[in-house]
Symmetry: C2
Subunit: 216 residues, 2 copies
């Protein structure tokens, strides 16, 4: 599975949507609007639900992403990724170490959140398939914690990394261009899609910006 | 692994300790005192830590239980069970469904929390190796949620189940005998050990009671 998915990974990473329940729509509604707009990577990030509920939501998103030929990634929870037949799992620095994920689930796409070049190189060495680098800008949502690394910090990571780098944290229509100019593979967003009055249209506009930089 | 562990499972289930951090001692300290007393099943139950911290604690308890030839079970989190090389995973009705656990990790010992005969038979059919039945008594700790099933409810489950039944919920030195008279395989406790001034001594006394019913 991994080899096949990895083939399209870099292209699909252009716009990476992390679906959330905290806004006016459910996970599923938001995921579907993003997919309809053309987004081809959806991450499910959830900390509050019971494992059973989490699995049910993950499986719904799995079915939906399957319909659109999109990549489905579960945040943090390898158990949910395995049980929902996700394509990948994304781990932060406080989650399961990448090496451990690789040992247990060798064929999952593995994303790792990094804040600097050092973390990026460690993640790469430990088997990451792509990096989530940020937070690029400060953000009030959960896109990422900690101090913003800025476009400058992102640029350093993009230069140092051999694997795709997805920028994350406070990215929206106004600043997406400056972020993509760093040469990063793509941008990850939550609120720029989820908190918009028209999530589908918002995703389409972001995709237009991304397409002015690369074929996705 | 599972076949070997299952051989001793029924005997070891006599006194089942669920380790907790909420009292005067750490997980590790409590687990070690219980093991020194002779307990041979330790469950790690934790909901608040990050996945990384959870894995570190689980691995510490894994090493410790290994030293004592004891069975190590992780509550709810199959990812932590797999990554810490636990012997088993214990799931509640709001956790990952037993069938799904079996599909992903066929060689783990699988425990399932049940409140009544119906849930017990479903869990058995879906591949459980043992049942955690309760809460037998009401309890202020997290030993189990919901209304107490009483000794009567426990008795029904013990009669209906073909696999070992561990009673849980508010069990202590005063009521352990009445619980064991139902014919259950063993008793599971948190606070009767963890909240005691002398956890090791408390575990020894509970083991004495269990030994008056069965060879463990």
């Amino acid at each position: 599975m991994r080899a096949g998915k990895l083939k399209n990974l870099e292209r699909h990473l252009g716009l990476y949507f992390i679906t959330d329940n905290s806004f006016a729509h459910s996970y599923i509604e938001l995921a579907e609007m993003a997919l309809k707009a053309g987004v081809r990577v959806i991450q499910f990030r959830e900390k509050r639900m019971s494992t059973k509920e989490m699995l049910e939501s993950a499986r719904e998103i799995r079915r939906l992403t399957e319909d659109y030929g999109a990549i489905f990634v579960v945040n943090d929870r390898l158990d949910i990724a395995l049980a929902s037949d996700a394509d990948g799992v994304h781990v932060g620095q406080d989650d399961m170490p990448p090496k451990v994920v690789r040992d247990i689930a060798g064929d999952l796409i593995l994303g790792v959140s990094v804040r600097n070049v050092e973390e990026a190189l460690v993640a790469e060495r430990d088997g990451a398939d792509y990096l989530g680098a940020g937070p690029v800008f400060t953000t009030s949502t959960k896109e990422d914690a900690g101090d913003a690394i800025g476009v400058a910090g992102l640029t350093e990571i993009v230069k140092a990394a051999k694997i795709p780098v997805v920028a994350i944290g406070g990215i929206n229509h106004s600043n997406a261009q400056s972020v993509l100019e760093t040469g990063c593979t793509g941008i990850a967003v939550i609120s720029a899609i989820a908190a918009n009055n028209d999530p589908k249209k918002s995703a389409e506009k972001l995709l237009e910006i991304v397409r002015s930089f690369k074929k996705i």
